[in-house]
Symmetry: C2
């Protein structure tokens, strides 16, 4: 029970961290979420189109266009026609976005990893199982 409040508190802290970072760099919470999504996809080698991005962020097409416009204006991404299917537009992540992602996550990740150093392998495995179990519960609950 206490654990649940801890969990919620942690998500709140992470949220605040994210939105404060976003504010300092002149982008909105949505922009940051989009950036994270794009960087994840880029790392996984997946192609992202405005349609997919909007779907992931639960935006309609108009909102998605506006979002992509903003990110492009900030020089974080680039639109590129898909040569195979020329209806599609590929969203290509610019180097600047990688740097920004690094600035956002880099320091925090280093600190988190350092904090994990105070746990032994068995404990980390337990934490991993725990997080997996919680994630699964929430994901299941999300589909009613």
């Amino acid at each position: 029970m206490q654990l649940i409040h801890l969990l919620r508190g942690l998500t709140v802290e992470l949220d605040l961290f994210g939105s404060e970072f976003a504010g300092r760099h002149g982008l909105h919470p949505t922009d940051l979420r989009a950036l994270i999504h794009l960087l994840d996809a880029a790392r996984a080698g997946a192609v992202v189109t405005p349609g997919r991005l909007g779907e992931a962020l639960r935006l309609n097409s108009a909102g998605t266009t506006g979002l992509v416009d903003r990110l492009e204006r900030l020089g974080l991404i680039r639109r590129e026609r898909d040569p195979g299917d020329r209806r599609k537009v590929r969203l290509v992540v610019e180097e600047r976005a990688m740097d920004l992602g690094q600035a956002f996550f880099g320091g925090l990740i280093a600190d988190l990893v350092a904090a994990m150093g105070r746990f032994d392998a068995a404990e980390l495995a337990t934490a991993r199982r725990f997080l997996l179990a919680m994630t699964e519960v929430v994901a299941t609950a999300r589909e009613e």
Copy 2:
């Protein structure tokens, strides 16, 4: 490292869960966050004023007034002049808000507790330590 992605994934799931719930009940993400804050305060027996609420949610006074107006219009809270200091307004949580909070958290909490049943006391203690450590890191990082 994998743990960090898990952590982020979990917060994303929780966020989505929250915003989808909010949408279904005709309130905005900010409204839900405010509701959570108010319910927490009510449970702790603390008095919340518009000023404090706005500060917690990082809203300016105009935005806070709007937020309180919405919550009041929805019948979730009630404004009440503080008899001691009549500049202040107390935000009193209505029963409806409690019910809504219950509907929001109730089911999810039950599921989470059930999932925790698959861990023994030592493992839960480890998870608790882990979450505490992570929360502390993020909270510290938030003050640069």
